[in-house]
């Protein structure tokens, strides 16, 4: 509750600052609309914004799920197999040197204007942080526990399932916290490059028509969506990590 009050206070302060900036600097509404105009636009265009928000939201969530599954799978394979480590890790680092943004036009070219290139963008952008954080966790199982499980003649897969994966959950959780913030970026870039729906598309469209108030309304919805996503994943991560306390 305390957090919520603080959040509301900060938001109100920001909106007031924004409002007075517009008034005192005498900014025209096609440069910076006042927050009250943005709110009005939000209310009058609610169903339009909602429709596009649902599209972007599904892109983000699907990208997040796919990236998490793929990233976790990669991390486990890397942790199990030294051969995979020597082959795949340099490739992963290389793939990070490639700006994912530059791939967006290609993905649109190959996969069209639908949901898929956006999901893939979100996936690509979170894949590395998820893989890397989970992998680090898997490689840092407390040594004493590993020794014990070897003396117990545990099989590598059962040690992975019963010891290494559960011990690496805090690592995965910190990767997911990053992913929750990155995934929306991927989806929006995908929409900017080529889309017929989604908040990114709506913002681009509004910008082109000098409807800056609509652009801000869409932007604020996007920020709120990202915050809610981050908050839920943070909660989930905390409750999983709490199980690990020594």
């Amino acid at each position: 509750m305390k957090l919520l009050t603080r959040l509301i206070l900060v938001t109100v302060a920001l909106f007031l600052f924004w409002h007075f900036l517009v008034i005192f600097a005498d900014l025209p509404k096609f440069i910076l609309p006042s927050p009250f105009l943005v709110m009005q636009t939000f209310v009058s265009n609610f169903s339009l914004i909602l429709k596009h928000a649902v599209v972007t939201g599904s892109e983000i969530i699907l990208g997040l799920l796919a990236g998490t599954v793929l990233g976790s799978f990669t991390a486990i394979c890397l942790a199990i197999s030294p051969v995979a480590r020597t082959i795949v890790r340099p490739m992963m680092v290389l793939s990070q040197a490639l700006p994912v943004f530059a791939l967006a036009p290609l993905l649109t070219l190959w996969l069209g204007y639908g949901l898929w290139p956006k999901i893939l963008m979100a996936l690509l952008i979170i894949y590395f942080p998820v893989t890397s954080a989970f992998f680090d966790g898997l490689m840092n199982t407390p040594k004493g526990m590993l020794d014990l499980s070897r003396v117990m003649n545990g099989t590598p897969w059962r040690i992975m399932l019963n010891l290494r994966i559960p011990a690496a959950v805090p690592g995965l959780a910190s990767g997911l916290r990053l992913a929750a913030v990155y995934a929306p970026i991927g989806a929006i870039i995908g929409e900017w490059v080529g889309a017929s729906e989604g908040l990114g598309y709506l913002m681009l469209l509004a910008n082109g028509r000098a409807k800056i108030d609509l652009m801000f309304a869409a932007l604020i919805v996007l920020v709120v969506m990202t915050l809610i996503l981050h908050w839920s994943i943070d909660r989930l991560g905390n409750s999983l990590t709490a199980r690990m306390r020594p």
Binding site: M145, D147, V151, M152, R158, L163, R243, P246
Partner: protein
């Protein structure tokens, strides 16, 4: 019952960790190994357990009666190594799970009763005291039913009262097993050792243990005398 022979020197690349030593862990009895930190006590224990990958033994570790070491050993160390996300009972059956066997809860609960933790068996490790955690670790060790037990300073992090209790509990329940206890506490060695080895840079020295069956009373004068003798020896070797 199995006796275990250890003979050899340990190396990392060209550097010698300890010179050629030789000792036997007698079947069904407690061998206590004392020595200053860094002399290689834990290395010896890890070599026997087959856990060393960097340090190489130039020598042999074998069972006098023959047969392979794998699957004959269980391990208990200073840190309890309980998995924090599992309750006491689940920690005790960990070995079952790791080998893909069906967890034997009846046996686990019987062992938990033996170590006096029946009321705490559903608790996670964070809710247990240091002594209780080592009791769970002892039950987990017993669950494995291995003839050879390696103890790496398992009681050294406990306070004096709990340590004495744990020594008694371990002596009672590990009876009949071939045990190597690595410790830096002369009092512990004098109470529990049926054979006492002092390891130093110059090799290993066999010290005659006090008379009487274990576990010996801590205030018996032969035990106290042995304790003093061990301490003197440790200081002389340093």
């Amino acid at each position: 019952m199995q006796s275990l022979l250890f003979e050899g020197s340990a190396w990392v690349d060209e550097i010698q960790i300890f010179p050629r030593i030789s000792f036997t862990m007698q079947a069904g009895s407690w061998t206590c190994m004392l020595g200053p930190s860094g002399v290689g006590k834990t290395t010896i224990l890890r070599l026997i357990a087959g856990l060393e990958s960097e340090i190489v033994l130039d020598g042999r570790i074998e069972l006098k009666e023959g047969g392979r070491l794998t699957g004959q050993i269980s391990l208990m160390s200073q840190t309890d190594n309980l998995l924090p996300w599992l309750n006491a009972t689940e920690n005790v059956v960990l070995g079952n799970r790791l080998r893909g066997e069906k967890p034997n809860y009846d046996k686990a609960n019987a062992l938990i009763e033996k170590v006096g933790l029946t009321d705490h068996r559903k608790k996670k490790p964070y809710a247990l005291s240091g002594g209780q955690r080592q009791r769970v670790a002892l039950a987990r060790t017993l669950m494995e039913e291995r003839p050879i037990v390696l103890l790496d300073e398992p009681f050294s992090a406990l306070d004096a009262r709990v340590r004495a209790e744990m020594q008694e509990l371990a002596a009672q329940h590990l009876q009949g097993k071939t045990i190597l206890l690595v410790t830096h506490d002369p009092a512990e060695a004098a109470r529990l050792g049926e054979s006492i080895l002092v390891l130093s840079m110059n090799g290993v020295k066999d010290v005659c243990p006090p008379e009487g069956a274990i576990i010996r009373a801590y205030d018996e004068h032969t035990v106290l005398a042995c304790q003093g003798q061990l301490l003197r020896l440790l200081r002389a070797e340093a």
